[in-house]
């Protein structure tokens, strides 16, 4: 896929496959083109060139079918801050076609598993950051999508919360949901099955973290990234 804005090529002819049930890490510096690429996969943006299928549907000709099968969590945790916790779940559940009974049952289950019983009736804007993050993720997979796209989901939270968050991601994959996550935290790359690293709009590396570390003679993913990032000519946005 390629995406150009005028004379600027944000995403330059990238190609990859993500397997069902995988945790695929989409890494790169700020401005490398990760978000642009992800938006194309979610049906938010049409590629200038190239092809793509998500959950078996073509992103050009069947964007609405793609949207039915995916979940999405943005950097801003976009939930409705002036709605209550359970109201957000009801809204998004309903949008994705879940029946009222199922919505009720799954809401109860979720509240229990997250220990959110007390927060259930609170307005989202009153929740602390860590809670919001967990809630946003739960909302994004509430309808059990085939693939969930996470855009920098762990921004601004402490390492312990981040760890807990990744446990939630593992639970999701255990249920058969494919996770496509972008992040600039290189330590999180270790949690993924495979990662790709974007530099200046191109994919410069694509493999499992272990293989990449061997390939680049690096102790951790951070070093792998440093080596690749040195080649970068683009400034961060």
């Amino acid at each position: 896929m390629t995406k150009r804005f005028g004379s600027f090529t944000a995403v330059d002819n990238i190609s990859f496959e993500v397997k069902k049930g995988e945790i695929f890490g989409f890494l790169g510096a700020n401005g490398a083109g990760k978000t642009t690429a992800m938006r194309m996969l979610c049906g938010l943006s049409i590629p200038t060139e190239g092809k793509g299928t998500v959950a078996g549907y073509d992103i050009y000709t069947q964007p609405e079918l793609v949207k039915k099968s995916i979940g999405y969590m943005s950097q801003k945790f976009s939930m409705y801050e002036d709605l209550k916790v359970w109201e957000n779940l009801e809204l998004f559940g309903g949008i994705y076609g879940m029946s009222d009974e199922i919505i009720k049952i799954k809401t109860d289950e979720l509240m229990a598993s997250l220990n959110f019983e007390e927060e259930r009736d609170k307005l989202v804007k009153s929740l602390p950051l860590g809670f919001k993050q967990k809630l946003a993720f739960s909302v994004s997979i509430f309808h059990t999508p085939k693939v969930v796209f996470l855009d920098e989901p762990t921004g601004g939270v402490d390492p312990i919360t981040r760890r807990r968050f990744w446990e939630m991601i593992y639970d999701a994959t255990a249920r058969g949901i494919t996770v496509f996550v972008t992040t600039h935290y290189m330590d999180e790359a270790e949690y993924c099955d495979r990662v790709s690293i974007m530099v200046d709009g191109r994919i410069e590396a694509l493999d499992s973290p272990e293989n990449l570390k061997k390939q680049f003679h690096a102790k951790n993913m951070d070093e792998v990234f440093q080596q690749l990032a040195r080649k970068s000519t683009r400034k961060a946005d």
Binding site: L44, S74, L91
Partner: protein
């Protein structure tokens, strides 16, 4: 699916600290205050007299002017320059200067000039002041003629008796004229401005993206945004009718259902326009500004402040494309004249046209994917 979105919209509106106040307070305030402030009626013209003659005729002239009740005598000055100060201070609107030989000239049947100097910063006021004053002087003149030279007056007087009648608004009540027009303005602000702001707000917050990524169809989302504001619009007009009745004793001559029907079409059109603007604005500030700009333009060219009939051709042309102008004609006609659908056919067609155009544009320009 739309029921979930509608639930969300209603909850958000109710929980918003400002909106409910605005929806109820704003129409009330506008309808209660505006009609009292907004009037061009000229009352209480202030007159300054410079009487250089000090004769019985000059005094009688002054007296007859005052007893006409159009003018208030604010001062008598010794000279024109002194009188001018009153105009400079806005204490007087017009100066009457009576020359020294006033009475003598009249008795000698010689023409005599009196100077009328009016403050014409407000051109209309100046014009009315001079016209009224001239008329009173003319009457005074005629009275004098019939006293002094009875042989001239009374000979073959051709008098055309004019019987003037005012229809639809017998008491020339300005409020009656303003209130229906104000309801249009309120509707426009509530149903054109607010939905647009609501959408751009979601854009800024990022929740719009969440919706775009979901299977919610364009039309469903737009409808869910619009419907609550349609309902708000209806509530607002109903409040308007109540206020008009309770406060001004205004009851429409025509039928309510016709008003509601037109209002529905109008709300549909204007909210569509709001959506179009919101589709092109990227920040809240931009959206507010663009909407404000158009609102201002539309309001000025709608006949709220000044009649469309008084506008030059090119402005009338632009006004033809102004939905507000059409609804104002509708509201005023139904309220005051009792017009029905056939008589307002032109306006009906225009408003329907706008509704189709704006909403079509709204759906087309709203892109989930770009």
């Amino acid at each position: 699916m739309i029921k979930y979105l509608l639930k969300k919209e209603f909850k958000q509106i109710i929980r918003n600290p400002f909106l409910p106040i605005m929806i109820f307070m704003f129409p009330l305030l506008v309808l209660l205050v505006f009609p009292w402030a907004a009037s061009y009626e000229i009352k209480n013209l202030n007159l300054s007299v410079v009487d250089n003659d000090h004769s019985s005729y000059s005094r009688r002239l002054t007296q007859s002017i005052i007893s006409s009740n159009y003018f208030r005598l604010t001062d008598k000055s010794a000279s024109y320059n002194k009188a001018l100060k009153s105009i400079e201070n806005n204490k007087a609107d017009i100066i009457l200067e009576i020359p020294q030989n006033f009475e003598k000239s009249i008795i000698n049947r010689e023409p005599v000039k009196v100077m009328l100097s009016a403050n014409a910063v407000n051109g209309m006021k100046g014009g009315i002041a001079t016209t009224y004053l001239s008329m009173i002087i003319g009457d005074f003149n005629a009275t004098l003629v019939s006293e002094l030279f009875p042989e001239m007056a009374g000979s073959s007087s051709n008098i055309i008796q004019i019987d003037s009648q005012y229809r639809f608004n017998k008491h020339l009540n300005y409020q009656v004229f303003m209130v229906p027009a104000l309801m249009v303005m309120i509707l426009t602000l509530l149903c054109g401005f607010l939905p647009a702001v609501s959408i751009v707000f979601e854009k800024e917050l990022g929740t719009m993206e969440q919706i775009n990524v979901s299977p919610v169809p364009k039309i469903t989302f737009i409808l869910a945004k619009l419907i609550p504001f349609w309902i708000i619009g209806f509530i607002a007009i109903t409040i308007g009718f109540l206020v008009a009745w309770l406060d001004y004793g205004l009851i429409p001559v025509g039928h309510f259902y016709i008003i509601y029907a037109f209002a529905a079409i109008y709300i549909f059109a204007i909210s569509g326009m709001g959506i179009v603007i919101s589709n092109f604005a990227s920040t809240l500030q931009q959206a507010v500004f663009i909407v404000f700009f158009f609102m201002m333009l539309f309001i000025m060219l709608s006949g709220l402040y000044t009649p469309v009939d008084s506008m030059p051709e090119w402005a009338k042309w632009i006004a033809a494309f102004n939905p507000l102008k059409h609804l104002m004609i509708v509201m005023r006609s139904i309220y005051l004249k009792g017009s029905n659908f056939t008589q307002l056919g032109g306006e009906l067609a225009a408003l329907l046209g706008f509704a189709v155009f704006f909403n079509g544009l709204a759906v087309l320009s709203y892109k989930k994917t770009n």
